[in-house]
């Protein structure tokens, strides 16, 4: 135990030193860039779950680099990956690794930047949230596959379960399917579907007995729904970092292998410690804080 601690401390020290080293290098880079390169335009498209973060970062980045113009669009992970692959945008935002949406040759030409961690939480209407605080993974799977159709079977009131889900190609749904319900196929002929996470929250809030799932950023300022614990573990950033809560995935920004100077500066900015605080405020997790070794 003690030995482990020593090793950990040593590792941490090395990382800090390494980071400091990198930092100074980057500083000189940025200094050089400030005089010449950080101007021009950056375009991006893709995941709607990641868009709020990239937009926020773009605003902050523009305050520092007045000559940069950044244009961002949603459209979905598939669209973002396709557009960055054929060169029509500089950044493709995606909830899923490029390999799942592009063929391998194309995916290999792209550079992956894991800018944040997205934690997905199951949410319920308040009438349920007052009585059911936690479900097991098996119960959650049975709920979303419509094997359990009444809340009384999981300790709730005698009320039918209303499933509210995302479309099959949604990145949030892919994460939820893989890590929350053991890869089971949702009963799409029994569930209401919404194209948009914001509307999903509203639907769950308005429908008694409703259950759905969204990424944590959508719950930051929202008290209209209740997030469920899975196997007693609350869906929080802390539990994600420690690996206790397993429904999460990396948010990716893909660029070409050698992006424009402005694009590189922008992505460095998002990955910087300074912006990292803001990432957490927005409800996303920071990749460098992940203590778990799980590969998502």
């Amino acid at each position: 135990m003690k030995l482990k601690k020593v090793i950990l401390v040593a590792l941490a020290a090395m990382m800090v030193l390494g980071a400091a080293g990198c930092g100074s290098e980057q500083k000189s880079d940025a200094g050089a860039a400030k005089t010449a390169a950080v101007s021009g335009s950056i375009t991006g498209s893709g995941s709607s779950a990641l868009l709020p973060l990239v937009k926020d970062a773009a605003e902050k980045f523009k305050e520092k680099n007045k000559d940069v113009s950044i244009s961002l669009n949603a459209g979905g992970s598939g669209t973002g990956l396709k557009q960055v692959s054929d060169g029509s945008v500089d950044m493709g935002n995606s909830d899923v690794p490029a390999e799942t949406k592009l063929d391998k040759a194309k995916a290999d030409k792209l550079q992956d930047h894991k800018v944040a961690v997205m934690t997905v939480a199951a949410i319920v209407n308040k009438d349920i949230g007052d009585k059911v605080k936690s479900v097991t993974r098996q119960q959650l799977q049975d709920i979303f596959t419509a094997k359990i159709t009444n809340w009384k079977d999981v300790g709730g009131p005698d009320e039918p379960i209303v499933l509210v889900t995302r479309p099959k190609t949604s990145g949030t749904r892919a994460l939820f399917k893989q890590y929350a319900i053991n890869d089971a196929e949702e009963a799409s002929n029994k569930s209401l579907e919404t194209d948009n996470s914001g509307i999903l929250v509203q639907s769950v809030a308005q429908n008694p007995g409703a259950i759905g799932y969204v990424a944590l950023p959508y719950l930051v300022n929202d008290k209209s729904v209740v997030a469920l614990s899975i196997d007693g573990v609350e869906p929080t950033l802390e539990n994600t970092y420690s690996g206790k809560y397993s429904v999460w995935g990396y948010e990716h920004i893909y660029t070409s292998k050698e992006p424009k100077a402005a694009v590189k500066a922008f992505i460095d900015y998002i990955l910087s410690d300074e912006y990292g605080k803001r990432i957490e405020e927005l409800g996303y997790g920071i990749g460098s804080k992940m203590q778990t070794k799980e590969v998502h």
């Binding site: 709607s48 949603a74 459209g75 979905g76 992970s77 598939g78 669209t79 990956l81 396709k82 799942t100 949406k101 592009l102 063929d103 039918p160 209303v162 479309p167 099959k168 190609t169 949604s170 990145g171 799409s188 002929n189 029994k190 569930s191 209401l192 579907e193 919404t194 194209d195 509307i199 509203q202 639907s203 308005q206 429908n207």
Partner: protein, 306 residues
């Protein structure tokens, strides 16, 4: 060359230039729908050629599970969406048609000019409201209301979609019908009154038949809008992947299915190919609508002449 000749020549040149410009614009714009159709055909045909599905499976099967990969191997039965689209459009038309015709009759035949001047802008105002607003209001006001009064589990339902669409196509049909009724010559009405017909008889047997063409055009335009509306419908129909078996249960339509998955689907994969095929089908359907109306129109015109 004297001054008159130069002036004439110049006028001719201007004439030719204007004629050329207008011809190019006219033909160019008329080509656009065909170019779009061609593009949809190229994209949508993949479902059948590349992924080897049959047209029958696409149109009539309810098995919707395309794989989001370039290898394919899923199933692409869009029957759920096709029936969903047709049922919601028919329902919207059923709700809105009596209201539209009645309003048009009121505006042209019954209301005093001053009242009419008030009603007309009010109806035109309908068209200016964006569909997202209709959808949002539908979701926050209509859905809880329906849930209160009807035995429905969610509120999100075919009925809700039909009502929202009915409101959306109401101004189109009403204005087209009112314009057509206005165009009926005053003498016809007077002749009808002269023969001893009552006001109702005049409206039912003279004005309405004469305005049929315009009313049909309004119906087509309204149906086209209803068929193509994605956003507002998506917000109230619930998008359950199920056949529209009941007015009180959720369903899905072609447009909601396309807009839900188009962004996330992998380009060149079976899923996006199937979505393109659905877009192609929407195009073909609206083409069919317009063809049908032209047929009907020319038929009624002939009858009028005979």
């Amino acid at each position: 060359m004297n001054a008159i000749e130069t002036a004439v020549l110049k006028a001719h040149r201007n004439e030719k230039a204007a004629r050329f410009f207008i011809t190019v614009c006219g033909i160019g714009m008329a080509l656009v729908p065909f170019l779009i159709g061609g593009f949809l055909l190229i994209k949508g045909i993949d479902t059948f050629t590349l992924f080897g599905h049959s047209l029958g499976e696409f149109l009539f099967s309810g098995q919707w599970d395309p794989s989001d990969t370039a290898e394919g191997g899923g199933s692409v039965g869009a029957g759920i969406y096709i029936s969903g689209s047709l049922v919601t459009c028919a329902l919207a038309l059923l709700i809105t048609l009596p209201l539209s015709i009645a309003t048009a009759i009121f505006m042209t035949e019954i209301a005093k000019p001053r009242t009419r001047r008030l009603i007309q802008p009010a109806i035109e105002l309908f068209t200016g409201i964006p569909s997202v607003v209709y959808g949002w209001i539908g979701m926050t006001v209509l859905i809880p209301f329906l849930r209160l009064f009807f035995p429905m589990p969610f509120g999100f339902s075919v009925l809700a979609a039909g009502i929202v669409l009915a409101v959306m196509i109401f101004p189109t049909i009403t204005t087209m019908a009112a314009d057509a009724m206005n165009a009926v010559p005053k003498q016809w009405r007077e002749a009808s009154y002269g023969l001893g017909a009552t006001r109702w008889e005049t409206i039912a047997h003279v004005v309405l038949p004469a305005a049929k063409g315009g009313i049909f055009t309004g119906i087509i335009l309204g149906l086209a809008r209803a068929l193509g509306e994605a956003l507002a419908v998506a917000m109230v129909i619930g998008q359950m992947k199920e056949f529209p078996t009941s007015l009180f249960l959720p369903a899905s339509t072609l447009t909601t299915a396309i807009s839900a998955d188009m962004g996330g689907a992998m380009e060149g994969g079976e899923y996006s190919a199937a979505l393109w095929t659905m877009a192609l089908l929407l195009f073909v359907l609206s083409f069919l609508f317009i063809f049908l109306i032209h047929q009907l129109n020319s038929a009624t015109n002939l009858k009028g002449k005979a």
